[in-house]
Assembly symmetry: C2
Homo-oligomer: 247 residues x 2
Amino acid sequence: MSKEHISIAPNYCHVCDTRGGCLGTQLLDSPEARQQLVQAKKINRKGDHIFREGEDADAFFVVRSGSVKSYLVTEEGDEQVLGFYLPGDVFGMDTDDSEARMSSAIALETTSLCRFPHSYLTETTDGNKLLKLSAEQMQRDHSLVLMLARKDADGRIATFLDDLAHRYQSRGYSGSSFLLSMSRQDIGCYLGLAVETVSRTLTRFQDSGILQVNRREVEIRDHDTLSELAGNHPEKANKEAGGLESA
Amino acid sequence: MSKEHISIAPNYCHVCDTRGGCLGTQLLDSPEARQQLVQAKKINRKGDHIFREGEDADAFFVVRSGSVKSYLVTEEGDEQVLGFYLPGDVFGMDTDDSEARMSSAIALETTSLCRFPHSYLTETTDGNKLLKLSAEQMQRDHSLVLMLARKDADGRIATFLDDLAHRYQSRGYSGSSFLLSMSRQDIGCYLGLAVETVSRTLTRFQDSGILQVNRREVEIRDHDTLSELAGNHPEKANKEAGGLESA
DNA sequence: CGATTCGTTGACATGCTTCAAACTTCGTGG
DNA sequence: CCACGAAGTTTGAAGCATGTCAACGAATCG
């Protein structure tokens, strides 16, 4: 089933470039660098681990197609999802002092990745670019913290969908109609909510006319309201959802 | 890693070295670098901002003495605390693509800082060290996410105190008896809890004999139980707290 | 076609927030 | 030195959002 490596780089960077420049390629100024990247291309099938917490970290990755879930496991075996990565996204930067993975990553569907060796990058890339890459990850982490600390279930789900919509759209896909590659369980583990709450909230949003859901299929019908719910207006958001509900 | 970096600025690096090597100095291999660092020392008084979100970011900092709160402000003006930094901690790494601050930082008390110019570091320091610095910050962020997503109020407060205790201890201060430099409000904003919940939980811990609290003074009396409560055992932790409460 | 996983829905319990009020500490100015 | 107000902390009561438990339906897989 493994697709053979194809020869030239431009093809491989096409997808990522559509989002206005794959962060990864911005690190690679030379043609040789790109070629290295291409040779390291890799295909993962649904459920394959890209890496696991604790493993040696010698590279990070850029998603070419498909999607990836990053997570860690608590002492009890509970899972905490840290993020979902779509085409163009960089992941796998989080390594501890001894260059070990601080989280695990698994393919949510058949997924193609570009691999960036750490050694190569830290030697040839100037620090600024690395800092920016890290910054992107920190930005995401901060958003998640803010969501978990200050938003109620409605706000979290709305933010989650709104974010997905924007990311899909900026990548040339539809921002209104897409397929969720992650389960309700995954969403719950990401947002700090019980599966039941995720399900209920989606149903309620549907009843309010904000969106249409059928299993993994999502169609957003009212981006404005969704975006409003996503905003940090816990009280106001609540009231508006209630209003829509009864309408 | 090596301990031989004390030659030029022994006075200034002494405090940080007590924790087994200030992360900042690990970045600076040359004596000139250290001298630059030392010259950039800065004092902030309680309530002074070290930087604000959106400002140009040309440096990051290491706490020499005192403590710092990092936070961001939501659209409504609500505050979300991202972390507290104690002597030896690095902060101010989080900048966006255009080198602007992604968060604000304010001194919680009279505080002395070492300043590390970005420009200098990104030019002379190899990428690996930068990645490690970022990793430390990400590690903290992940812990916070995990706390917010999976722990109840008891677990959060316990984790918060346990963490502080460990950090103080590893810096040569008492890990059992210390002064909180942040208000209940700050703690609540950090842990995603209402001020009242913070206060109530502390009181309950005190009644359980786990600790002694008086305003900002904290004395931990039962590290083991505190640590157990801090673990990700929401249900179990609850029961045990209840048991102690009634005992 | 059973077995398993995933998603939905309902009923109930509860932990936390919110609202309200009292108290303490601290700063400021009279 | 005291008066006074502002800010921080604590405590109580009540309401509600979310978790938990339980059962069912739907899709997927071997």
